[in-house]
Amino acid sequence: MANEAKVRAESTQAVETPKTRLAGWFSLIVFLILAGVPFMMTLEMTLIVESALVAALFALATNFLVRDAGLVSFGQAVFYGTGAYTIGLLWMHNRSPFEIGFVLAPFIAAIVALIIGALSLRAREFYFALLTLGFSQLFYSLSIQFYSFTQGDTGIFGIPLPDYLRNPVSSYEFILIVGTLGTVVLWWIRRTPFGLTLRAIRDNRTRSQALGVNVFSVQLAAFVISGFFCGLAGALFIVYQQHAYPAMLNWEASGVPILMSVLGGMGSFIGPIVGAFIYTILQMWVGTETQHWPLFVGLIVLGFVLLYPGGASRALSQIRQLWMKRG
């Protein structure tokens, strides 16, 4: 692998903890500013930030798999959709209260991830990407085909929220708190021996195997963790929109969190969060001007990938370094 040296350099960079304390204070300030959003901004702006928060968790969970584990999956939307559909289906068929669905959602997504991961991880590289893509289309078709179970392409809408989440401020704060907890847990997982093993496998699979690492189990665990948090993001989407629909599941939906990570910088932990905000704000802004939003997505992707042939993440870590120097 030609990129090996570069990737390894990046991973050692991620393990080092310079100015951890500063980063901690910085995160707290960002959290407090975000918590104040519904009191300082219009409802419309608050909803944009809310949507970005949901997307940020989805992007973080996807980037955990793509960057830390080095597993390029084009099917993470399956778990995002599963999270949303768990709440929707439980309400539609069982009239289960929101809380039950919300708690179950990430676990159901994790179980689905366990099955898909166990089957997909037998394949490597391109075949892995295509297999996850295939599963994603399978679930997408399932959600459209079985109308009586999922209401087909209209999806399940009008999913009721409990009283305490009905007003926009409380639902916003709920999403912010759950999203932050998810972020903290993902950040912590990266730093555990498990997280380090994961990066070791990514950097040199053969050597890790020789050291006695069970590559398959570790990667499967990473796949399940990513699925769990994608599912949690899907559950948060219900708090934001009260609607589960098939387009949440298809492969374009799986590309979006990867794109967000690239936009914000895959190499850094906060990159996907930044990317989710950039993407969401761009979407709202461009979306009101023109209906050709996909054209802009395409141009953004191309612009990024082409202007930085070494990979967008490198450029962004450069920007980040500059930014660190300034801050």
Binding site: L119, L131, G134, P294, L302
Partner: protein, 287 residues
């Protein structure tokens, strides 16, 4: 009987499109997500831009070739200005770039020709149907099967007997090898990508008269082409032919027996094959 033939005509189109995808992957190791969009542009060109030509069978054949050539010129431009800069970067960025291309090209197609679905018409001389076993079978579907056979034969000749074919086969066997052979890799990649887009557009142009064109058709076909190439083993032409047959037959027979499941069949077949053989039927293990 007729549904088997229908399956064969579906397989014919799938084969032509997937062969292009598979050749590009086999030689260049690029998964081209925009492949379906070249198919879509081919179909739109034949239906809308060359509408006058497509009234008669001979004009239609000219329109087919014109459309495929035009799209392969577009392919060359894209290879030279976009893909060429990505061969050294990670797979993920290559995937993202072709995905970006797909989004851009699809939107531009829809801006040029409008977002409404359009229906083509089968040229005179190729319309009508004939009877087989008491049921009627459209003549055009038989034409598609014939076209696929001709293209398969031409591809076989190209790969077996031309210098370009030899290099492509070497590249499929061992991608690194071609760098040591003194081959002009730049030119090779351009040629292969042009061939790939030519085949995609030809598939789209062939299917245009008998179907309705609209947004999303590119995502649909590119998924099916992925499945076909993956089942057969990326880079293998014979695998692609086999994969196309399996998917084509599954779809048409599935439609007869259980229409709900038929839509899922391709994905199920792909997952099944990859679980048994993670690199496809004729695929070799990743180095």
């Amino acid at each position: 009987m007729v549904s088997i033939l229908t399956g064969l005509s579906t397989a014919a189109i799938l084969f032509i499109v997937s062969a292009g995808l598979s050749l590009v992957f086999g030689t260049m190791r690029i998964i081209n997500m925009a492949h379906g969009t070249f198919y879509m542009i081919g179909a739109y060109l034949v239906t809308l831009a060359f509408a006058g030509l497509t009234m008669r069978a001979t004009g239609f054949v000219i329109a087919l070739i014109l459309a495929a050539v035009l799209v392969s010129v577009l392919g060359i431009v894209i290879e030279m200005f976009v893909l060429r800069r990505l061969y050294q970067s990670e797979h993920l960025f290559q995937l993202l770039a072709t995905w970006g291309l797909m989004l851009v090209l699809e939107e531009v197609t829809l801006i040029v020709w409008g977002p409404n679905n359009v229906t083509g018409s089968i040229p005179g001389g190729l319309s009508g149907s004939f009877a087989i076993g008491g049921q009627s079978f459209p003549f055009y579907n038989a034409f598609l099967i014939g076209a696929a056979l001709v293209i398969a034969a031409l591809l076989w000749l190209l790969l077996k007997f031309t210098p370009l074919g030899r290099i492509i086969r070497a590249a499929v066997q061992d991608t690194e090898l071609i760098y040591t052979l003194g081959v002009n890799v730049k030119r090779l990649y351009t040629q292969v990508f042009a061939l790939g887009t030519f085949l995609a557009a030809l598939g789209g142009a062939l299917v245009a008269p008998s179907t309705s064109l609209g947004p999303g058709m590119d995502a649909q076909i590119v998924m099916e082409a992925f499945i076909v190439s993956v089942i057969g083993g990326l880079g293998s032409i014979w695998g692609t032919a086999l994969g196309a047959l399996v998917i084509g037959l599954f779809q048409s027979l599935g439609n007869l027996i259980a229409p709900e499941v038929a839509a899922l069949a391709p994905y199920l077949v792909m997952i099944l094959v990859l679980i048994i053989r993670p690199t496809g039927i004729f695929g070799k293990a990743e180095a």
